[in-house]
């Protein structure tokens, strides 16, 4: 009998149970059973599943991905730490030895979850898996079951970190095809203020990265995250990101998605208490046969919160770009203010774009708006710029730079912004 992909993953899990749970306390390992059970029940989503119409997740897992339960030797990677207040380097999901635990004078800690479990077990146990929805999201459940390592970032009460905390995920496996369950947990306590930079880079090899990120934002806390992924052409990045915000907090995320054969982003934001703000900026740029499938879910369950989402895309070649955004406003979430915009530029003759912003509103005193556009570079604009002496090619480039500038301008981590701009530029220059 041919085994299903799910069965193979279950088998892989049970065969390696010991090594997966090694070094973790019982409290964490005992829950893995629930997660794998949940994965077993839910199964891998296919295109028939709501929210997965654009990403053939099941097919993607069918490929023969190697799974290494120990860190493998990988190519050397550069580490751009200039202007970071602290930084950490992760290889194929495993935190490198020299970055296991770093405690700053101001109490900021960054390192591996295993070290964190020794130094501040209560904080870890309170937040790990508290936001990730392993009961309803099979990819998240799979990561939660398989998790062997996790980047832990801790910003204590009332601490303001000027320079960014930098987290680098590198994926490198020479010419192999490797599956990786990378993970991240951010705990920013009440009154904290920090910037975090996250990069996902595929140095070599093909990867199936099923990543989960949880971000806890305490009361009056301000967190800015810029996350940049640039995967190789045979790699898949499934990014499952969750956040929970306490009273009067602000979370802003700038997300830039480049590269990869498939990039799926599933962002779930929750307001746990009133008077908070969530800003989300996203940009994908595709140039060949690629899929960018961006999903956001903004959960207004309490009153007086503001959310703003702006996702832009440039779809070139024969790529697919998709944005599915949902804003949920519960009956009690009065005076919610939610904006959701998706703008897409079709550059390739065979490119397709699907934009579906959705509002689900049960409260009556709210301010919500949404909109989606799919368009082409405007001939009138090109003509106008050429009339001022710019070549057609330069006019087109300038127009696209202007288009993406809307998103990139929100990146506040200078060295990362520069890197993003030059990566985006090099793609745009090829159009």
């Amino acid at each position: 009998m041919i085994k299903s992909t799910e069965d193979r993953l279950l088998e892989l899990y049970f065969a390696n149970l010991d090594i997966i749970g090694e070094g973790f306390p019982v409290g964490i390992n005992s829950k893995r059973r629930d997660y794998i059970e949940s994965f077993n029940l839910l199964g891998l989503p296919s295109r028939k599943n709501e929210g997965y119409r654009r990403t053939p997740v099941k097919c993607l897992f069918e490929k023969e991905w190697e799974n290494y339960f120990i860190p493998i030797q990988t190519s050397n990677t550069t580490h751009n730490t200039e202007s970071c207040s602290s930084s950490i380097k992760v290889n194929n999901g495993f935190i490198e030895d020299e970055y296991k635990w770093l405690l700053m004078d101001n109490g900021v800690a960054i390192g591996s979850i295993k070290s964190a479990l020794e130094h501040m077990p209560d904080v870890v146990l309170e937040h790990l898996n508290s936001m990730a929805k392993s009961d309803t999201e099979p990819l998240t459940a799979l990561n939660s079951a398989f998790m062997q390592d996790c980047v832990f970032v801790f910003i204590p009460r009332e601490v303001n970190v000027e320079q960014p905390i930098c987290v680098e995920y590198n994926y490198s496996a020479k010419d192999q095809q490797v599956m990786s369950f990378a993970r991240m947990l951010v705990v920013a306590e009440d009154g904290a203020d920090a910037k975090i930079s996250i990069t996902h880079k595929n140095i070599d090899g093909s990867f199936m990265v099923n990543f989960v990120k949880e971000v806890y934002v305490g009361e009056r806390t301000t967190i800015e995250i810029t996350e940049f992924s640039d995967m190789g052409e045979n790699s898949v990045l499934l990014n499952n990101s969750y956040s929970a915000q306490m009273k009067q907090s602000k979370l802003s995320g700038v997300n830039i998605w480049l590269g990869g054969s498939v990039t799926r982003f599933n962002g779930v934001g929750s307001f746990n208490s009133t008077d908070s703000e969530n800003r989300f900026y996203g940009l994908y740029v595709s140039e060949k046969e690629q899929i960018f499938d961006i999903n956001t879910y903004m959960n207004h369950t309490v009153s007086d919160c503001r959310s703003f989402q702006q996702v832009k895309g440039i779809a070139g070649g024969d790529s697919i770009g998709a944005f599915t955004g949902r804003v949920y406003v519960a009956t009690d979430a009065q005076r919610s203010d939610a904006v959701q915009q998706s703008k897409n530029l079709l550059m390739g003759d065979d490119a397709r774009v699907y934009a579906e912003p959705q509002l689900e509103i049960y409260a009556d005193d709210v301010k919500c708006s949404h909109g989606a556009t799919v368009g082409q570079v405007s001939d009138d604009s090109i003509y106008y710029m050429r009339q001022r002496g710019l070549s057609e090619a330069n006019a087109r480039k300038l127009l696209m730079h202007g288009y993406i500038n809307d998103i990139i301008m929100h990146c506040s981590i200078e060295h990362l912004c520069d890197e993003i701009i030059s990566s985006v530029d090099s793609i745009v220059d090829r159009f």
Binding site: Q387, R388, G389, E392, L398, L399, G402, Y403, D406
Partner: protein, 249 residues
């Protein structure tokens, strides 16, 4: 400077220009007037090289060269400037960035060295005074969120930056209140020299209170049916176009 001979043009198979003849010399200001739909904007577009229009007959010589063979950008670099009736908004592209590229292209054509950053900034500052445009607009995206008047002033500002040989201003006066009109018209007058030329397209004579044309042409149904001096504009203002149209038909 500009010699238009028997120019015919059409758009999507519809004939719009039906044999235009016009010659413009350095130091001159020409006004082109005429009722809506006469083909004034089309003439401007065809001269600028807008790819929407097809030239079916005729010839245009600009500075001794065949204009119609040149690309839109080469015409601009050679010193042909079009002030748009409806300036285009370009989100995310700052005026400063846009002008930096445009000025660099124009200077390259003129065989001049590129400006240094500080020279460029000084040029921006000086030229924005021509149309009393605040420095704030310079940091904003091209025409985005500009009022109607600001857009028109911005066209003249760009003209000042690029120092064209021939500027064609398509209804730069329409939609302006009297103060803005004065600013725009004064700006154009300041930029006028013996070695450049201006064609102002308008259908109000009020612009011509500030910009004194050497010639006033009436364009009707794709042809220039009458050419006179500035007194013609006054007569048109008072009596409309009918008398002229009846006379020619």
């Amino acid at each position: 400077m500009l010699e238009i001979k028997n120019l015919h043009a059409s758009v999507s198979g519809k004939k719009i220009l039906k044999g235009i003849n016009l010659s413009v010399n350095a130091g001159e200001i020409h006004a082109i007037m005429g009722p809506n739909g006469a083909g004034k904007s089309t003439l401007a577009s065809v001269l600028a090289g807008n790819p929407k229009f097809d030239i079916t007959e005729g010839e245009v010589i600009f500075e001794g060269k065949n204009l119609l063979e040149a690309s839109v950008e080469d015409r601009a670099r050679a010193g042909l400037f079009l002030g748009f009736q409806y300036p285009v908004e370009i989100p995310g592209v700052s005026m400063a960035n846009f002008m930096k590229l445009a000025v660099a292209e124009r200077r390259k054509y003129q065989g001049l060295d590129p400006l240094t950053s500080s020279e460029f900034l000084k040029l921006m500052r000086d030229k924005s005074k021509v149309v009393e445009l605040g420095g704030k607009l310079m940091g904003r995206a091209v025409n985005e969120g500009f009022s109607g008047g600001e857009k028109k002033r911005n066209e003249i500002f760009q003209m000042a930056m690029l120092d064209p040989k021939l500027a064609i201003l398509d209804e730069t006066d329409s939609g302006l209140d009297i103060d803005a009109l004065r600013v725009v018209a004064t700006g154009v007058t300041k930029l006028h020299r013996d070695d450049n030329a201006t064609i102002v397209i308008t259908h109000y004579q009020r612009l011509l209170d500030y910009i004194v044309p050497d010639f006033v042409h009436v364009l009707y149904n794709g042809q220039i049916i009458y050419t006179g001096t500035k007194e013609l504009a006054l007569k048109l203002e008072a009596e409309g176009y009918d008398w002229l149209i009846n006379k020619t038909e």
